[in-house]
Each structure stands twice: as C-alpha cells, then as structure tokens.
C-alpha cells in the first residue's frame, strides 16, 4: 500500500514537478482519504525522500551501465559517466530536479536510509580517478571525485534549465565531454608536475 503511494508520488512528480505533488490528488489516485496518506508516511517530506531514494537507485544503475560495455580507459570511463548523468537527468528531468530542489528543515535531519544512497554516486567516479591520479591519498581522491561530480552536475543543471537560451541536448553533451576531458587532462598534468608547487 505504501508502495502504491510512493509510486503514485513518483509519477506525479515526474509529470507535474515537485510543486505539483498534492496529497489530495495522491489520495484520490490510490483510492483513499487524504488523511490516510499520513498513516503510510509521516509527511510529504518523507514521501519526497522515498521517491528520491528510488531515483538515486535508478541513477546508480544508469551510471553502472555506462562503464559496463567494452574496456574503456579510466579517462573515457569518466566521460561516459558524465554523459550518462546528463542523459539520465534529461530523461528524468522532474525526478532528477526533485533530488536537489527539495530542502529539508534544518532541525529535522535526513533519515539514515536516505543519506547512505547519496554517497554511492561518487563511487563510480572514484575508481577511474584513482587510476588516473595514483599519487593522491584516498581522502584527496574522494574530495576530487566530489568536485568533478559537482562540476558536471552544474553543467547539466544550468544546461537543462533553459531559463534563457535553450541549449540543444547534443550540444550540451559535447560541452560536457569536452570539459570533462579538459578537467582530467589538467588534473593529470598538475599531478605529475607536482600539485601545489606549480602555482
């Protein structure tokens, strides 16, 4: 029953956006009173987090799939991951947006099951990055992986925004691939040359 609720919420976010998620519509869709929603879930925040968890899992699968065919070099693996992220965001635009639009209250922190999902994404980036930057410590690699992810996320986020100019998706993909390669090349070059000493 709760599964039906979450699925209905997922569908509603998918085609009406996070702001289009209404408890009364949900109740009608799964066939119950609006008050009954709160027996299945504490509040809409939890509902959104549960949908987000599903989205993150699908995203994880998409990223896994991206590097599973052929024997891509670490460099090309990272490009593939970035493009897969872009494609996933484009194909699941509203659900993907909901992951970042939703902000929880400051006093009520995220439940554990929600936090754990998010860490997993960097895992995809970490391995190829470790192969490319053998001189870095695990901590440094984790931070760099996060930065790389964030940079690609920014390109996808603003690229799909279409607030001002509509960027066609193929052009966005080219930009992402180009800048990811540039970032990697730059990181590797700085790594062999001796990091901070170069500035």
């Amino acid at each position: 029953m709760r599964a039906a609720l979450i699925q209905a919420a997922e569908g509603m976010i998918a085609d009406r956006g996070l702001a289009g998620l209404k408890t009364r519509d949900l109740a009608r869709e799964i066939g119950c009173a609006n008050g009954a929603v709160y027996n299945l879930v504490a509040d809409v925040d939890e509902l959104i987090l549960r949908v987000g968890s599903r989205t993150l899992r699908r995203l994880d699968e998409a990223l896994t799939l991206a590097t599973s065919s052929g024997e891509p070099s670490p460099r090309e693996s990272l490009v593939r991951i970035a493009l897969a992220y872009c494609d996933f965001a484009a194909e699941n635009l509203q659900l993907w947006r909901a992951l970042f639009e939703h902000r929880v209250q400051v006093d009520k922190p995220l439940p554990d099951w929600s936090v754990h999902d998010q860490m997993q994404l960097f895992r995809h980036i970490y391995q190829p990055l470790a192969a490319l930057l053998p001189g870095r410590s695990p901590e440094e690699l984790g931070i760099t992986a996060r930065s790389l992810f964030s940079a690609v996320h920014g390109m996808v986020a603003l690229g799909l925004e279409q607030k001002l100019v509509a960027v066609p998706l193929p052009a966005l993909r080219n930009q992402i691939a180009g800048l990811v390669r540039a970032m990697i090349d730059g990181l590797v070059a700085r790594d062999v040359k001796g990091a901070a000493a170069a500035d």
Copy 2:
C-alpha cells in the same frame, strides 16, 4: 514605496529563505494592508525577480572587483572570478539560492529587464578566456564560457549545500581554484593540440 517593498523582501529572503517570504509579513513591515502589496507588484513572482535583479547586480560588482586589482594573467583572472563567485554565494547564501530555486511558470515568460541581467555574468569569463583560447570563434567562446561558469556554479552549489557533509569554506575554495586551473590547462592543451582530432 515599491522600493521599500523590494528592500523588505530582500531582507526577508536573506534571513528566512525564499520559502520564508510571506506577503502579510511584508505588508506589516512596510506598513500597509496585505492587499496593497498587489498595487506595487503584480505578484510574488515579480517581487522575487526584482530582488533577483538586485542580487545579480551586486554579484556583477563583486566579480568586477575580483579582477580589478593588480595585473592578473587571464588564467589567474578566471581563478579569481571563480573564487569571488564562491565568496559571494557564501556571504549571500539565501539571496544567491533564490536566484536558482525560483522557477517561473512555463506560460508566463521572464520580463525583458530580468533576462538582460543574466547574460552579463558570462562577460567576465569571456575576456580572459578569449585571451587563452585564441583559436576559437566568438560563438565557441561563449559556449565554453557558459560551461566553465556552470561547472564552477555546480561546485559552489553542492559545496554550500551541506546536505550530507559540511565542507569547510577554505577547503571548497581550494577545490575550486584547483579544478579551475585544471580545466583551463586542459582546455588550452586541447586547443593547441587541435581540438576534436585528439579523441
């Protein structure tokens, strides 16, 4: 009078966030009935856009200031701009967030005065980038400038999110500076080597 409204809205967003902007509180703060707000402004969307316009102008000033002292190389200019963007976002967190959180209705497009502001930001990036990548056309440079901005924006956005792990600001600044230098170095290297032929 309208200026007082916008200023009150700015203050309210600044310390309570975009979601904390309430018309009744605004009316009380500027001393009028809640209905009177709609004589000064069409709706809250316009109000948010007007506040956003002010924020963008201040951001523009901050970025201008970043490259105005000394004679920084194009490469270091870009690093300075990125760090200035990060600092501005950190110091004006809620107002900066409001720029991106707020999504307008699909059928009611942005007014002209709001669209024009946003383009100006890329101008800061364009000039140093043109010096570093002389082989590129103005259109290509514009797109690359946008991508660079987006990448930095992503790092700042996720870095200041603190959704999972709180990244200390100095660490974030280091990451940004490092990755911007890497991106630039990578872009320049790819540029001299002959762009697409390298893949």
